[in-house]
């Protein structure tokens, strides 16, 4: 069963064709990669999917529901969450608070704005911070963490929200090689144990080949190729697009 269906999506910024006729499907419970040279429209596609900006044409279905016209918070509440390439965390709050605020809110009526934060949430937050290895720094301001740690925190925050599907925008960019292995392990664990479907933008070929069961490759705003990691690795068009045609 497919959890995400992107069907012939077009997105133009004035004369720039950021996405043209993009179609892709992601199966429930799978890990899917999205690669492509810089400026090929990967992040634009992410933005279109989660509703940051409206699309010009096409349809996006998440969990059987059309989401292409919904605003970001609504899409997030349906269980479709994204992380950012440049980490976005709440710099002046400590890690625990960052986690607490990320919990999926039961917003019912205006008074729920002043609802108490249940103490068991803190336990959940601490468990997840342990999972990403940030437990000992839980009381530090998130802004004081290193870039890599902030990425891990952002990942933990996404998990706190218990999404059905996560869109990860370059989860290993700017992280040192030893920590990258840790991230790969955790992403696989997230997929297997938490049952979260992953769609991952990644430039690091080693990472994406290890992680993904299926890969889509974009170039110049168009879908260039799709297939298993093996197929993609040997696809001449992909090699040309990445390394330049000979």
């Amino acid at each position: 069963m497919s959890i995400l269906e992107v069907n012939q999506v077009y997105k133009y910024f004035g004369g720039v064709k950021a996405n043209e006729d993009i179609s892709l499907t992601v199966e429930q419970g799978s890990i899917v990669g999205l690669i492509g040279p810089n400026g090929s429209g990967k992040t634009t596609l992410f933005n279109s999917i989660v509703g940051t900006h409206p699309i010009d044409k096409g349809s996006i279905k998440f969990d059987g529901r059309e989401v292409s016209e919904l605003p970001v918070p609504i899409v997030a509440k349906l269980g479709l969450l994204r992380t950012f390439q440049q980490t976005r965390i709440y710099g002046k709050l400590n890690c625990i608070e960052n986690m607490l605020i990320s919990n999926k809110s039961q917003e019912k009526g205006l008074l729920s704005v002043f609802s108490k934060i249940p103490p068991e949430l803190t336990d959940k937050a601490e468990t997840l911070l342990k999972f990403v290895g940030l437990y000992q720094k839980r009381k530090l301001r998130a802004g004081d963490l290193s870039f890599g740690q902030q990425k891990l925190l952002e990942l933990a925050m996404a998990l706190m929200n218990e999404p059905k599907m996560l869109l990860l925008d370059e989860p290993t960019a700017g992280i040192n090689p030893t920590l990258i292995n840790g991230i790969i392990d955790r992403l696989i664990k997230i997929n297997k144990e938490f049952g979260i479907t992953l769609l991952v933008i990644e430039h690091n070929m080693r990472v994406i080949m290890q992680l993904a069961q299926k890969i889509f490759c974009l170039a110049h705003g168009q879908m260039l190729a799709e297939g298993s990691p093996e197929q993609i690795k040997n696809d001449k068009r992909v090699i040309d697009a990445y390394l330049g045609a000979q």
Binding site: P73, G91, I101, S112, F114, K116, K137, L140
Partner: protein
């Protein structure tokens, strides 16, 4: 925890006996509590939420006019009162005075809150400098508009009902207003202290640190921003209603919509004490008020120069305010610690 209770009760007792300890400064301390309210409520936007609002003075002025208007309008024709000399013809009996004042104060909270919700819905979508400029315009426009409405005395302003004859002297009057100011200040503080511990406080901070992220995580930020402004407007409005009666005279641009004085003071006080903290605005307002009054006494003629110098010193040397400076100096006192025990445990495991 126990230390907190002792501290809070000591402050509470001080506030309650202050008018008898310093009888000469009763009115001054009342003004100080009003300033604390202004700083606390400004900090909801400027500090906790990261939206620099220069428009909160709008609610102060609206509250002031609403309260006075209700006090008078309930019993006498308002237009005749505000046309010169009306306050001499119509005299409130004590029950009329207190009834009108009570209802006026309630409406002085509710009306600005409704205005905040309406305007907020329109302009809280603006961010950063754009929001600041827009709110600056609001305050100025309100002063000009109020100056053009004959019913509330236009540019001449209007008087509030004088203290009714036959119940006590001016001492009783200032004690009455002192305790109202003090109670309102405590109520504002207690409410905000509680609200900051709920989801509301966390979301405001999240909006300050990264609003896009908060939205991406499924938070309806607009709802929280509006409610935050409504809360501020409610308390500021009541403070305005009190202030108008304390001063006894409402003038559109100098007292009610006094953007250049109170409108700026509320920002400065919060920054001086440390914006985005609970105690910062309180400490800032008290220090600011003491300095300000000192300047008026000792540097008369140069008081605004001295005040300007103080502002420069604040911004240059305490950009994060007193609380922010303390936090930077003693982060561990504010709970910013690395769990060493856990770190050791991890190392030993390996």
């Amino acid at each position: 925890m126990k230390k907190n209770i002792i501290l809070y009760s000591a402050l509470l007792v001080f506030g309650l006996v202050a008018p008898f300890l310093f009888p000469a400064f009763k009115l001054q301390i009342s003004f100080m509590w009003i300033l604390v309210i202004l700083a606390l409520t400004w900090d909801v936007q400027g500090g906790q939420m990261g939206y620099n609002s220069f428009g909160n003075i709008l609610f102060f002025g609206i509250g002031m006019y609403i309260c006075a208007g209700v006090q008078i309008g309930m019993f006498f024709p308002l237009a005749e009162w505000t046309s010169s000399g009306g306050e001499k013809t119509f005299i409130h009996t004590p029950p009329q005075y207190f009834q009108g004042f009570f209802i006026g104060l309630i409406l002085a909270g509710i009306v600005p809150a409704v205005v905040a919700a309406t305007i907020g819905y329109g302009i809280l979508g603006l961010r950063g400098h754009y929001f600041a400029i827009c709110t600056l315009g609001l305050g100025i426009a309100a002063g000009e508009i109020a100056g053009g409405i004959e019913l509330i005395g236009a540019g001449q302003g209007m008087t509030t009902p004088p203290w009714p004859k036959g119940i006590g002297d001016t001492e009783l009057r200032s004690e009455f207003f002192y305790y109202l100011c003090f109670v309102l200040m405590v109520a504002t503080f207690v409410f905000l202290r509680w609200a900051y511990q709920t989801r509301f406080g966390l979301v405001l901070n999240a909006i300050r640190d990264n609003e896009d992220k908060a939205e991406a995580m499924g938070i309806h930020t607009m709802r929280y921003k509006i409610i935050g402004w409504v809360v501020s407007a409610f308390f500021v409005g009541i403070a305005g209603g009190l202030m108008g009666n304390m001063v006894g005279y409402i003038e559109p641009t100098e007292i009610a919509f006094a953007g250049a004085t109170y409108g700026v003071f509320m920002v400065l006080m919060a920054i001086l004490g440390g914006k985005g903290t609970l105690w910062g605005p309180v400490i800032g307002a008290i220090i600011f008020h003491i300095f300000k009054e000192g300047f008026w006494i000792f540097f008369l003629g140069w008081q605004y120069v001295a005040l300007g110098a103080l502002i420069v010193i604040i911004v240059v040397f305490f950009p994060e305010g007193i609380m922010g400076w303390l936090r930077e100096k003693y982060p561990e006192k504010f709970g910013e610690i690395i769990d060493e025990a856990d770190r050791k445990a991890q190392v030993e495991l390996k």
